[in-house]
């Protein structure tokens, strides 16, 4: 009974994310006016920034769930942390892909060592490592704890990465002096679109997180049932 209602809720969330995404696309391509300086390419901003928000939410969830897992225990917290890292990394990848698509026409280069870009890349490597660790240590009973340690230490170090990257950038004067990307959300419709796209991406994030979490949880349940079955068959056989 409980299972059915959670499935229903999950399906509802998926549907909601789908509808919101359709509306977002309408807003981005039809509703919002074209930015005057950067032109039409600026529209990618409405996906780029919300993706970044979702990525950061993901990494925040990893840290909280990891801390909960280490000090309180429980399989669920571990599964949530794992799922959040996967989904967070997905959105972080989106940020890194949409960034250059935007930078190329606006700044004239695919990549620049702007503090924000640099920091996003470093974050990406932290959580990519997190998933590599999970993969490499698949058979190690301690891997959940190891991943949690990385999730927590990673989160603790992030403010310093941001600080260091900013300091570093300040001694390397920018080669390209282009208008700041997110300068001037002059039009009210731009703000509306950004906020709505942000909510859409967070809904999508929640939806994907839940799905990944459930898949892992069900996989473990299946494995448990299979073990139980094997044991019973083993008992009957002789």
């Amino acid at each position: 009974m409980k299972n059915r209602s959670t499935t229903l809720a999950a399906d509802g969330l998926t549907l909601l994310a789908g509808v919101m995404m359709a509306v977002s696309i309408y807003l981005v391509f039809q509703y919002v006016p074209t930015e005057r300086v950067q032109g039409v390419v600026q529209r990618i901003f409405y996906f780029h920034v919300p993706a970044a928000w979702s990525a950061f939410t993901g990494f925040f969830v990893v840290a909280v769930a990891s801390a909960f897992f280490l000090w309180r225990g429980g399989r669920r917290a571990d599964l949530v942390a794992h799922a959040a890292a996967e989904v967070g990394l997905l959105f972080c990848t989106m940020v890194l892909v949409t960034g250059p698509m935007w930078a190329r026409p606006v700044w004239g280069v695919w990549w620049t060592w702007d503090p924000r870009l640099t920091m996003t890349l470093v974050l990406w490597t932290i959580y990519a490592t997190y998933l590599v660790l999970r993969m490499v240590g698949r058979d190690d009973p301690l891997v959940a704890r190891y991943a949690a340690v990385l999730g927590i230490v990673g989160a603790a170090v992030i403010p310093f990465i941001i600080l260091a990257v900013r300091l570093w950038h300040s001694i390397h004067p920018a080669v390209i002096s282009a208008p700041k990307g997110q300068g001037g959300l002059g039009d009210r419709r731009m703000v509306q679109t950004l906020v709505f796209c942000g909510l859409t991406f967070l809904t999508l994030f929640g939806c994907l997180l839940w799905r990944r979490f459930r898949i892992r949880q069900l996989a473990e349940e299946i494995a448990d049932l299979r073990d139980e079955l094997e044991k019973q068959e083993g008992r009957r056989a002789p």
Binding site: D139, P141, A223, D227, G234, R235, A237, P238
Partner: protein
């Protein structure tokens, strides 16, 4: 006969999983002060895992462990535990004296050097004090590992296959040590595949099979070897056929 004495090691509903593999399956066992309990069982039954959980090296997946009447917490409990396993815990690049002195200092024992020398000669390694452990034979290493276990005079000895690699004289020596420890009130749990020797030593025999206690000798002491062999074959039969299938 030992019912009145305080429990030294207790396992309640102990479960230990390694990934998906269940090694201990809701195991219950109580060992009381001064007892000498011998664990028997086929390979993979969970004897070593049980000892490692009791030694606090593994945390239970479910269930609980109590040592000396309380859940094991902190590192001070280690002063009262002596754990011997297949690994000798000895540094190959150091000599016996250096190894034992290191452990003696880690335990903050008095007179680490003379204590180390004393135990080295007790386990019959006099003359090898300054030979790096890497040149030792398996039997010599096992003797030194025993010295390491006895060094801090623990109240509870957890010995996994203490006779492996030892010659007849070595086995007799170990039996002598165990008898001596017992006289001073030390509680001992050991595993062995040598049914005869185990029965001779123990005042309680326990058979572990598929992660559970399959059989336990009761009030009347341990049975003789013939009866015990029959019991052993019977209670471990499902596990063995399962293992071969």
């Amino acid at each position: 006969m030992s019912e009145g004495r305080a429990p030294v090691a207790e396992a309640r509903g102990l479960v230990k999983k390694f990934g998906r593999r269940v090694v201990l399956d809701r195991l219950d066992l109580t060992v009381r002060a001064g007892e000498m309990v011998c664990l028997f069982g086929p390979n993979g039954a969970g004897k070593t895992t049980l000892l490692r959980v009791l030694a606090t090296l593994l945390r239970p997946s479910a269930g609980s462990v109590r040592l000396f009447g309380a859940p094991p917490r902190g590192s001070e409990i280690h002063r009262r535990l002596g754990f011997l396993t297949h690994d000798s815990f000895l540094y190959r690049d150091m000599t016996p004296v250096e190894n034992l002195e290191f452990y003696a200092r880690m335990f903050a024992l008095a007179d680490p050097r003379s204590r180390s020398l004393h135990w080295i000669s007790r386990v019959g390694l006099r003359g090898f004090e300054n030979v790096p452990v890497r040149y030792f034979s398996r039997g010599m290493e096992q003797r030194l590992a025993l010295a390491r276990v006895f060094l801090h005079e623990p109240d509870l000895l957890l010995l996994d296959e203490p006779f492996t690699g030892l010659d007849a004289a070595g086995r007799a020596d170990v039996e002598g040590f165990l008898a001596e420890r017992r006289r001073s009130g030390v509680t001992i749990m050991l595993t062995t595949h040598d049914l005869g020797r185990g029965l001779e030593l123990a005042d309680r025999a326990v058979i572990v099979s598929s992660g559970r206690i399959a059989w336990e000798s009761g009030e009347h002491g341990v049975p003789d070897l013939r009866d015990f062999s029959a019991i052993y074959r019977e209670v471990t039969a499902p596990a063995r056929t399962g293992g071969l299938a």
